[in-house]
């Protein structure tokens, strides 16, 4: 059958069914937008992980005189205890996991502290001795911080081992929860989009039952009987998918890049590049899902 003929049949179906077709467009638009949001939140998490995990370090804090007695019964860490930690960090057991590390003295810690709190009076109450000496460790694989934590927790002269990633993980789990919520909404909306497509296709087939009966009588192939209906669903859903693609791209450009990224300059955000990787999948997904939904619907409705 000629493609133009199939297209003109689909167009007739769309015209006779305008309000249903508009609702397919809207529901696909909303559901695929949520899919896009869920995907972009995941990409944002990745983006932040890449940015921060490279910078995140594990700190081995040595005891000071003011450390709690439970961790530091002998007070300020001795030269020997510091040397022992240093030796363990260079040992053959740990060395393969460590990219680099350095030791921070009381004075260096105080300098950093004073810089950070330059505008505040806190600095004047703090003396260098109260701030921990520390080993700052960069791991080759930031995921493996447990190895450092286990090696030094409870070691003599060590007050605490802290993975900076711990701070980030709470942000990530927040973003992840957002992403899962968006995915759940997307799932429900997609289910209703599929049902709506299949109902619309059946209505459309019902309103054209005369044509279908005649097509059968004159020997139109099953494919050419069904194809205009499938095309009708696919055209409507594709329009919705294109709208969602535009919405997702606009959200990234206007909300994230022009607003958030300007106000929070110290982190990295998803941008046009990530939006452009998501958008084709939204359109492709819309086309494939609607093609499946409408061909199943029409196949079950029109047994030839």
């Amino acid at each position: 059958m000629k493609v133009l003929f199939a297209l003109s049949e689909s167009w007739a179906g769309i015209r006779s069914n305008v309000s249903m077709v508009i609702s397919i467009i809207l529901v696909t638009f909303i559901s695929l937008s949520f899919v896009g949001i869920a995907a972009l939140l995941q990409l944002q998490i990745n983006e932040m992980k890449n940015y921060w995990y490279d910078r995140a370090q594990v700190a081995v804090y040595m005891c000071t005189d003011v450390s709690p007695a439970a961790a530091c019964p002998t007070g300020e860490a001795s030269e020997a205890e510091i040397a022992a930690v240093d030796a363990q960090l260079t040992s053959t057991v740990l060395a393969p996991y460590i990219d680099q590390y350095y030791f921070e003295t009381h004075e260096q810690a105080y300098e950093k502290f004073s810089e950070e709190f330059a505008d505040s009076t806190v600095a004047s109450y703090v003396t260098p001795e109260q701030l921990n000496e520390a080993f700052w460790v960069n791991l080759t694989n930031p995921e493996q911080s447990a190895i450092i934590t286990e090696s030094f927790s409870g070691a003599a002269g060590v007050e605490q081992v802290r993975d900076q990633r711990g701070y980030l993980d709470s942000i990530f789990s927040f973003l992840n929860a957002g992403s899962i919520t968006a995915a759940a909404v997307a799932g429900v909306m997609l289910a209703s989009a599929l049902l709506l497509i299949s109902t619309t296709i059946r209505l459309s087939a019902f309103s054209r039952r005369r044509e279908i009966a005649i097509m059968r009588l004159v020997g139109a192939s099953n494919f050419s009987i069904r194809f205009p209906f499938v095309l009708e669903g696919v055209i409507a859903a594709t329009l919705g998918a294109v709208l969602s693609a535009i919405a997702v791209y606009a959200a990234v450009e206007l909300l994230v890049q022009d607003f958030l990224a300007v106000r929070l300059p110290f982190t990295s955000f998803v941008g046009a590049q990530q939006a452009l990787t998501v958008v084709p999948w939204l359109i492709l997904g819309g086309v494939i899902l609607s093609a499946l939904a409408s061909s199943v619907a029409i196949r079950r409705y029109l047994k030839v």
Binding site: M1, R210, E211, I214, R216, G219, A220, S221
Partner: protein, 239 residues
């Protein structure tokens, strides 16, 4: 052309079969009337020939195809070699005369060049060249049936099935339709027509197959509705 052997058709949910062991053979170029009271199984038999349904038992071969074992994806290709008209015309109300006829060619993917010559040809054969742009609602019953006939024969079928084509028409218009059917038959198309219009059957003196309660009770060449040899009226509830 058409060979049916001991075909039985029992519809789902009914105990009495609509066809009880029907056997018949129709050769190329024949004109056959299928007569009988309503409910005697004429339409059921037509539906079997068109492969809209298959016999419960028995066999049916049409145009060399074994219809019981015909794969469903081959059914459309088989149907392209048949034309069919009904009592109720079945035209598409939103398409004009030309489009209605062209539709059956377009649907099976005939090339535009074929359509542009075949449709006017067939419209002039049925005498509707002048009314090609009219909508079905603007036509008389006889004219609508002529459009339906044009649509049935535009793809040059080997067999034309006509299920009570004159059932909704007055005698004069019925006569015109019968003239057309005969011309189509003279062109080589096998015609199988179900009817209970006694006048038509008597006048044309073609082969008559009479059904009664799903059984063939008479199969006579060059006969009338009434059996010319015995003068006996067919036992039909309708007359």
């Amino acid at each position: 052309m058409i060979t049916i052997q001991q075909a039985v058709k029992t519809y789902k949910g009914s105990d009495e079969p609509a066809l009880k062991s029907v056997s018949l053979q129709v050769e190329r170029g024949e004109f056959v009337f299928l007569v009988g009271a309503s409910g005697s199984g004429k339409s059921t038999l037509m539906r079997m020939v068109l492969r809209e349904d298959v016999p419960t038992t028995g066999s049916i071969h049409v145009l060399g195809e074994d219809l019981i074992n015909l794969a469903s994806r081959r059914v459309p290709i088989f149907r392209r070699r048949l034309g069919v008209v009904f009592q109720d015309f079945r035209l598409l109300p939103q398409k004009n005369v030309y489009e209605n006829v062209a539709y059956s060619s377009k649907v099976i993917g005939k090339p535009r060049a074929f359509i542009e010559t075949a449709v006017p040809d067939v419209l002039s054969l049925v005498g509707l060249s002048e009314k090609a742009k009219r909508m079905p609602s603007e036509l008389s019953g006889g004219e609508q049936q002529r459009v339906a006939l044009a649509r049935a024969i535009v793809n040059k079928p080997d067999i034309l099935l006509a299920d009570e084509p004159t059932g909704n028409l007055d005698p004069k218009t019925s006569g015109e339709i019968m003239d057309l059917l005969q011309r189509i038959n003279l062109g080589g198309t096998t015609v199988l027509m179900a009817t209970h219009d006694r006048g038509i059957v008597d006048r044309l003196q073609k082969r008559v197959i009479e059904l009664k309660n799903g059984e063939i009770v008479r199969d006579a060449a060059a006969a009338g509705y009434r059996d010319v040899n015995t003068g006996e009226l067919p036992k039909s509830e309708e007359f």
